[in-house]
């Protein structure tokens, strides 16, 4: 699953378990950048945000590096911190601290949310927009063969999450160019916050890093908690080798699933996608119009040494699992690799707050 249940710590604290992060130009207004963070997989109706967690969006200016093989991410950072009170009766209050220090209060589950100068915030329970045939993804690893069916089964069908949606006037609030790198994080509150989770791209921890059996270096290591605790923009040099080894091994496994090698490793055994994926943030170009299918287009353009043509980032309804599988297995040079699940129970809307309302209990299988 995208980033659902991505390690022991996430399992212990679902309220801090980020399931997905999305970043896209607002479909109805290109001057706005939309950032979404979902937490709490399988949230039942009583789920509320924790008062002990900071739900943070980190945004940095990004550009294509001069060698055109990687992203160059600036040191300036714009953070949006959402925090929540203990509910007083049925209503929970939250607030978002903007990069300029301004505080925007809002009420959870209020469709209008809260607004400040250049920012609109919604937080509340919504339908989980992610979809995947998780058991067949696991079976693919166990059997070392593509196990997906024509019609798959989505364990997230009819499930809900807690979502936070920020609509940002990017030209006002984010200095720098129109391309930026986005990460979602959960951290403990307190004087010195401790990072609990961080998410940029979908399916890094579960699909890409989760399997241990191919790793020639750390086959016994549950790497995901360690990975979650890292700063996405500044990986620890002590552990990056472990992440690299795991990614190289797992990506090579996926590449071999169609019986041919589309991603030859370099002389050091590195997979061509490894460094790009280690740069684990969504890259979105808000100067380009909204697109429903743009996930990793900027990255693919970079690999192909051509200018990108879409906004990149990630839209709610995109079937990113098919995109990822196709990229990993045949580099986009072969047929689309499908997991057999092509949509969620309800599509997200192209208008604020974008995510579909929560499902009732009857929606779950």
């Amino acid at each position: 699953m995208s980033d659902h249940i991505s390690g022991p710590r996430a399992i212990a604290d679902p309220v801090a378990d980020i399931t997905d992060v999305f970043a896209f130009p607002a479909p109805e207004n290109p001057r706005h950048l939309v950032l979404i963070m979902n937490v709490f997989p399988y949230a039942g109706p009583s789920a509320v945000f924790s008062d002990a967690v900071i739900y943070r969006f980190r945004v940095r200016p990004a550009s294509i590096a001069s060698n055109r093989r990687a992203f160059a991410v600036g040191a300036d950072e714009f953070t949006f911190d959402c925090t929540f009170d203990v509910p007083d009766g049925p209503a929970q209050q939250g607030r978002c601290r903007m990069p300029n220090g301004e505080i925007v209060p809002f009420r959870v589950n209020d469709a209008n949310g809260g607004s400040g100068k250049g920012l609109q915030v919604f937080a509340g329970q919504r339908s989980d927009p992610f979809f995947l045939d998780g058991p067949m993804a696991e079976k693919t690893i166990a059997t070392k063969k593509l196990a997906f069916k024509e019609v798959g089964s989505d364990r997230l069908y009819g499930k809900n999450v807690l979502g936070i949606v920020l609509t940002i006037e990017w030209a006002t609030l984010l200095e720098g160019g129109p391309m930026c790198a986005v990460v979602g994080e959960t951290l403990t509150t307190g004087k010195r916050p401790i990072r609990l989770e961080r998410v940029g791209r979908p399916e890094i921890k579960n699909v890409s890093l989760g399997a241990r059996i191919f790793d020639p270096v750390n086959r016994d290591l549950e790497i995901r908690d360690l990975y979650n605790s890292e700063d996405a923009f500044d990986l620890s040099k002590h552990y990056v080798g472990a992440y690299r080894a795991r990614l190289n091994a797992n990506l090579a496994f996926y590449d071999g699933l169609d019986g041919k090698t589309d991603w030859p490793l370099d002389e050091h055994g590195n997979h061509p996608l490894t460094e790009l994926l280690l740069a684990d943030y969504l890259v979105v170009d808000v100067s380009k119009p909204f697109s429903e299918i743009s996930y990793v287009e900027i990255e693919q353009a970079l690999l192909e040494q051509r200018p990108h043509t879409t906004c990149g980032g990630r839209w709610l309804n995109e079937d990113v699992v098919d995109v990822i599988l196709t990229l990993y297995v045949n580099a986009g040079k072969g047929p689309r690799i499908r997991d057999g699940v092509d949509g969620p129970i309800t599509w997200s809307a192209r208008v604020y707050p974008y995510m579909a309302p929560p499902n009732g209990p009857e929606a779950s299988p």
Binding site: G44, A52, V53, V86, I194, S364
Partner: protein, 338 residues
């Protein structure tokens, strides 16, 4: 090291309910998670119905997934909750024969051995786990074991270590730990220390029923009857565990409120009889305690105390049996130790 804040106990409980309600029964994994969540809620709220639901799911799960070692471990956990320790150990042995990692089965086995009073064996397993990985879970498990053995210095030292090692935001693990330390202080007769620990557990999770119940017991010992009664009333009303009604009957009886005490005594007695019929091993000790105190029927207590010693040979179980024998002797009966 700066301690991180934990989620407010009210939120944590809402979210525990949300996890239970949101999970579903689609896969074995879901059902195992559900068993754990129900067991946790049972532990926090003193809800026997949650334990029973977990047990039911576990039995069905093992029927459906007979070769799934994790299903057997989950069932072992629910059986241990109801003190069916031999059955639980059997499940773990079966899980191991299915090649389940011994680290997983031994974690459960240590808890069962501890429940049985086989402390040395439990300690050996717990220490091995702690040496392999000094995680919060492993260190906290050692706190519980040393606390139960009244090894105060070791329990205190490991409690401090657990606080440092805990990295989560859920308040439940630390509340459960505070509670275990509180029980240790009670066993030692150090009521002020017990009050501090139970208070800490209640601050973390105000709805933590066993912690509230024991805090009321401490307050009653200090003569703070009004506070103890106020604490017990909502628990006696809401919980399906008769312990709170039994405590309330005892305290009200001692303070001369005989009529009210009689009401709660009747309720507790009926509920203990029900539970003894369904889960004899699990409720023998608490029912015996009830019949020795507010229940005022040592004759009923004795066979239960004896059954309890048969199930678990802990110092506490022997103490309860001795109490039951003495009470019967005092009442003119001639109890048999056999």
């Amino acid at each position: 090291m700066i301690a991180a804040a934990h989620t407010d106990g009210t939120i944590a409980l809402l979210n525990l309910r949300a996890q239970i309600d949101g999970l579903g029964h689609a896969t074995a994994e879901d059902r195992i998670a559900l068993i754990d969540l129900l067991t946790l809620r049972g532990l926090i709220l003193g809800h026997i119905a949650d334990y029973e639901r977990a047990e039911e799911i576990a039995e069905r799960l093992v029927r459906d997934e007979a070769t799934d070692g994790m299903a057997l471990v989950a069932r072992a956990r629910t059986r241990a909750v109801f003190h069916r320790f031999t059955d639980a150990l059997g499940d773990l042995d079966r899980a191991e024969r299915l090649s389940l990692d011994a680290e997983i089965t031994n974690r459960e086995r240590a808890a069962i051995l501890q429940g049985l009073g086989r402390y040395e064996e439990a300690l050996a397993l717990r220490e091995k786990a702690g040496e392999r990985r000094a995680s919060f879970e492993n260190v906290a498990a050692l706190v519980g074991l040393h606390a139960e053995r009244s090894e105060i210095d070791a329990a205190k030292r490991l409690y401090a270590e657990s606080c440092i090692r805990y990295r989560g935001v859920s308040p439940f693990p630390m509340a459960l730990l505070d509670f275990q330390v509180g029980l240790m202080w009670m066993d030692q007769g150090r009521l002020e220390d017990a009050r501090t620990s139970f208070n800490a557990a209640c601050r973390r999770v105000p709805a933590y029923a066993p912690a509230q119940g024991h805090l009321a017991e401490v307050e009653a010992e200090f003569g703070e009857i009004a506070s103890a009664v106020a604490r017990l009333y909502p628990l006696a009303l809401s919980s399906d565990d008769p312990d709170y009604a039994a405590q309330l009957a005892r305290i009200l009886g001692y303070s001369g409120r005989v009529y009210e005490a009689r009401h709660w005594r009747r309720l507790a007695a009926a509920r203990y009889d029900e539970l003894i019929a369904r889960h004899p091993e699990a409720f023998a000790d608490h029912a015996a305690e009830f019949w020795l105190a507010a229940g005022a029927d040592p004759g009923k207590a004795l066979p239960l105390a004896r059954m309890n010693v048969e199930v678990r040979k802990t110092p506490r179980a022997y103490g309860l049996l001795a109490q039951a024998v003495a009470a019967n002797e005092a009442a003119g009966a001639t109890p048999s130790w056999a």
